[in-house]
């Protein structure tokens, strides 16, 4: 359940994430879904949309040639490569506990509701 806290709209705060991912390599950078700001059960379209939004804020063409941001952009490209390839995504999900057998916390009544992050369909 620890990971659920990480689901946020981080895609909108790329600069912050870029700085964060540098300092705390493990916590943020590891969670591919959180980095893009999507749910682990996101559709390919949602992932693509999040990726495009993210690239719009971190691509060196638009953000200057800052090495940290370029590094973050490389990481986002890697994340996107994994999440857009069904096989690589399945492997990633399996390793990180996001496999199809996992439940969506918003649809699961037993999951604790902290009302910090809400499903866009339920509000």
């Amino acid at each position: 359940c620890r990971r659920r806290k990480a689901w946020g709209r981080r895609g909108l705060r790329v600069a912050a994430v870029a700085a964060e991912s540098r300092s705390s390599e493990g916590a943020v950078a590891e969670d591919y879904y959180a980095v893009l700001g999507v749910m682990p059960d996101a559709t390919p379209q949602q992932i693509k949309k999040a990726y495009y939004n993210c690239m719009k804020s971190c691509h060196p063409d638009l953000s200057g040639n800052d090495p940290d941001v370029t590094n973050f952009c490389m990481f986002i490209n890697e994340v996107y490569t994994v999440l857009t390839d069904p096989i690589q995504r399945a492997v990633y999900d399996e390793i990180h506990g996001y496999a199809l057998t996992a439940t969506n916390p918003f649809l699961d009544d037993s999951a604790p509701r902290d009302h910090v992050f809400v499903d866009e369909f339920s509000c």
């Binding site: 690239m55 719009k56 691509h59 063409d61 040639n65 490389m74 490209n77 890697e78 490569t81």
Partner: protein, 660 residues
């Protein structure tokens, strides 16, 4: 008094009186003309934070001074066709470091340049839209050549200054002009494109041993040697002067379009030519990706918030000019254009032209072996007649060719479509191959394609159109794009975006996400090629691969970096090599060596390599190398290394571990 670019660094000797230490050196503030306020106001803050990338010099000189000091021993007199008022250019100067204090106060928006094999064009973002610049002859597409005549040089931008001595196509083919530099640049004399260039009316001499070809233009009945880089630099200098005259401020940065098939070595040659012309290359953009950016802008204008509704459009862009043929698949949504796949080859209109010439004159090679004045003239006549016939065939069923080649040789023939297609069958097969490869790499089927965009001069050939449209299972091509202006317009858009310009109306709210056109990797497992960054990887990218030693107690390993599509290393372009030394002695296969490659948004390739297992104090530090390091010779070095070391320094791809 005039100001002119210092064509750094090759065109001037170090002792030139144009040195910044020379008394004629002027301060920038004194020289600067009024600036365009629109462009300044739209620039982002970060541009100011960045400061000037390099020191730049403004140097006033008189034409006579320049002529005296010119290393090429020719005068640049023809550059002064706009001599009514002095103009200003800057020269990139990496040697002088003490002159940084003058801040550039002019809007530093990169211009877009499309250097075509046959024609060039230049475009700029003028604050509202992309504007293609015209030369004094009112042309947007300027013939790519440089004329060497007596003591003057003139490029196709001005086309020979005043009207009375304007160059005609037959002058360009007289032996005094060098053209097709884009086909020759960065190629060795074993290359088939260089071999084919021997049928051009200037001197292309080859030795067939993998060195640069010898290229020369006819000046006063003598062959005077030059290089493709030098010719391109002279051309770019004129192009830059044209842009500066229009913009009324110095131009420093440029985005250039290049063919997909260009190797990294060729790209360095383009950068070299730009540096000689005082231009800093902000981006080198594969031609179809520049078109994709323009398409993204169109789509953005058509549907304002398609990002929200998630409508994505897939375009296949096919570009075929005189020298190269490229294809790209781009996915576009919300102003973002993502390049899914790229493919290209060095096949173009020049090959079609030569095929038809050989078809018309079966003894072409023996007839034109050895370039005498008569033969050059005769070949020029044949070229013009053939070119004309190919153009006419685009709109009519058959064409009659009647040309007197002199010396009793006459060509009289009716050429129709089926014959034309038969003669160029191999070319159409290659086109088919690159389209199919591009679709396969993008993991798409023809039905997924929303728009087929055909650009480049050869896209007018009916067979090419029907072939590409047929492969994409569609009837019509995308209409709202000019086949000859699309690439340069896209480059100008990228120039504005990457320079940090924003547009209040949102028409620069765009992004191209590029992909690498070729595999990048190292030699491993004997003579095999291990791709570390596979082609069509989205950039910026970083990939790592693990290797292991192949001999017991191996203390050194050779990292040879290659680029290309071949499975064997030697089939690819060697970009450079270096050794990892001081590897702790251990049984073979137990030492792990990591090779990591990264490509940034400016397409710079770096290779990092070092020992990752065992760890500890006894392990040498990692090595970082910026590629390519090779300046010449390509295959030669690879062969020499193989001869010298055999398999002694070899590595093998680490088998078990999941590659990171």
């Amino acid at each position: 008094m005039h100001l002119v670019t210092l064509p750094f660094p090759l065109l001037l000797p170090p002792s030139t009186p144009l040195s910044p230490l020379h008394p004629t050196f002027y301060s920038r503030e004194h020289c600067l003309p009024k600036l365009l306020p629109v462009l300044i106001s739209t620039r982002k803050k970060r541009q100011q934070q960045q400061g000037p990338p390099k020191s730049h010099l403004l140097v006033p000189v008189t034409p006579s001074q320049l002529a005296d000091s010119c290393w090429l021993s020719v005068s640049f007199a023809t550059f002064y066709w706009m001599a009514a008022e002095p103009f200003y250019t800057v020269a990139s100067d990496s040697e002088t470091t003490g002159e940084d204090k003058s801040q550039p106060s002019f809007p530093d928006v990169a211009i877009g340049i499309d250097i075509g094999t046959s024609k060039c064009s230049v475009a700029v973002w003028n604050g509202h839209h992309v504007e293609l610049l015209k030369n004094t002859r009112n042309q947007k597409g300027m013939r790519s050549y440089v004329m060497f005549k007596d003591d003057t040089l003139s490029a196709g931008v001005t086309g020979g200054a005043a009207k009375e001595n304007a160059h005609e196509e037959r002058d360009v083919l007289s032996g005094s002009a060098i053209f097709n530099m884009k086909r020759l640049i960065g190629r060795m004399d074993t290359d088939e494109v260089v071999q084919a260039s021997k049928a051009l009316p200037f001197l292309v001499q080859t030795l067939g041993i993998g060195v640069r070809p010898f290229i020369a233009a006819l000046v006063n009945n003598m062959w005077r040697s030059t290089t493709p880089e030098e010719v391109l630099a002279i051309f770019l200098l004129e192009l830059k002067a044209l842009a500066e005259m229009h913009l009324k401020h110095p131009v420093r940065n440029a985005v250039l379009t290049i063919p997909v098939a260009f190797s990294r070595f060729q790209q360095t040659r383009i950068e070299r030519a730009c540096a000689m012309a005082g231009l800093h290359v902000l981006r080198l953009m594969p031609e179809p990706t520049a078109v994709a950016l323009l398409y993204a802008q169109h789509q953005q204008q058509l549907m304002h918030d398609n990002m929200g509704s998630g409508i994505e459009k897939i375009a296949l862009i096919f570009n075929m000019g005189a020298g190269y043929c490229d294809a790209a698949v781009a996915a576009t949504a919300g102003g973002v254009s993502q390049i899914r796949a790229l493919s290209g080859c060095s096949v173009g209109g020049e090959d079609i032209l030569q095929n038809i010439m050989r078809h018309l004159v079966p003894n072409f090679d023996s007839l034109y072996a050895g370039q005498t004045m008569d033969r050059i003239k005769s070949m020029g006549l044949l070229r013009i007649a053939t070119q004309d016939a190919i153009h006419k065939l685009a709109s009519q069923d058959s064409v009659e060719i009647n040309v007197d080649l002199g010396d009793g040789q006459k060509v009289s023939k009716v050429l129709d479509h089926s014959e034309f297609e038969q003669v160029n069958r191999v070319i159409f097969e290659k086109v088919e191959k690159i389209i199919n490869q591009c679709l396969a790499d993008a993991k798409l089927v023809p039905e997924d394609i929303n728009d087929v965009i055909l650009v480049g001069g050869c896209s007018r050939i009916p067979r090419i159109r029907s072939l590409v449209l047929g492969l994409c299972k569609t009837e019509v091509s995308y209409k709202n794009i000019d086949a000859l202006e699309a690439a340069v317009s896209g480059a100008a858009l990228e120039g504005a975006i990457a320079s940090g310009v924003t547009d209040p109306e949102g028409s620069l709210d765009l992004l191209t996400i590029q992909a690498t056109p070729m595999n990048l990797g190292i030699r491993a497992d004997g003579d095999n090629f291990a791709a570390i960054i596979p082609r069509n990887t989205t950039v910026p990218a970083r990939r790592e691969m693990l290797f292991m030693t192949t001999h017991d107690n191996q203390t050194e390993a050779l990292i040879s970096v290659y680029e290309g599509e071949g499975e064997r290393a030697e089939e690819n372009h060697l970009l450079g090599y270096f050794k990892i030394t001081g590897i702790p002695p251990a049984p073979k296969g137990t030492v792990e060596i990591s090779v990591c490659m990264d490509i940034d948004a400016s397409n710079v390739l770096r290779v990092f390599a070092g020992v990752v297992k065992p760890q500890g104090q006894g392990v040498p530090p990692f090595i970082e190398v910026r590629m390519p390091t090779l300046d010449d010779g390509h295959g030669w070095c690879g062969q020499a290394l193989a001869k010298m070391y055999g398999s002694k320094l070899d590595l093998a791809v680490h088998p078990k571990k999941l590659q990171p």
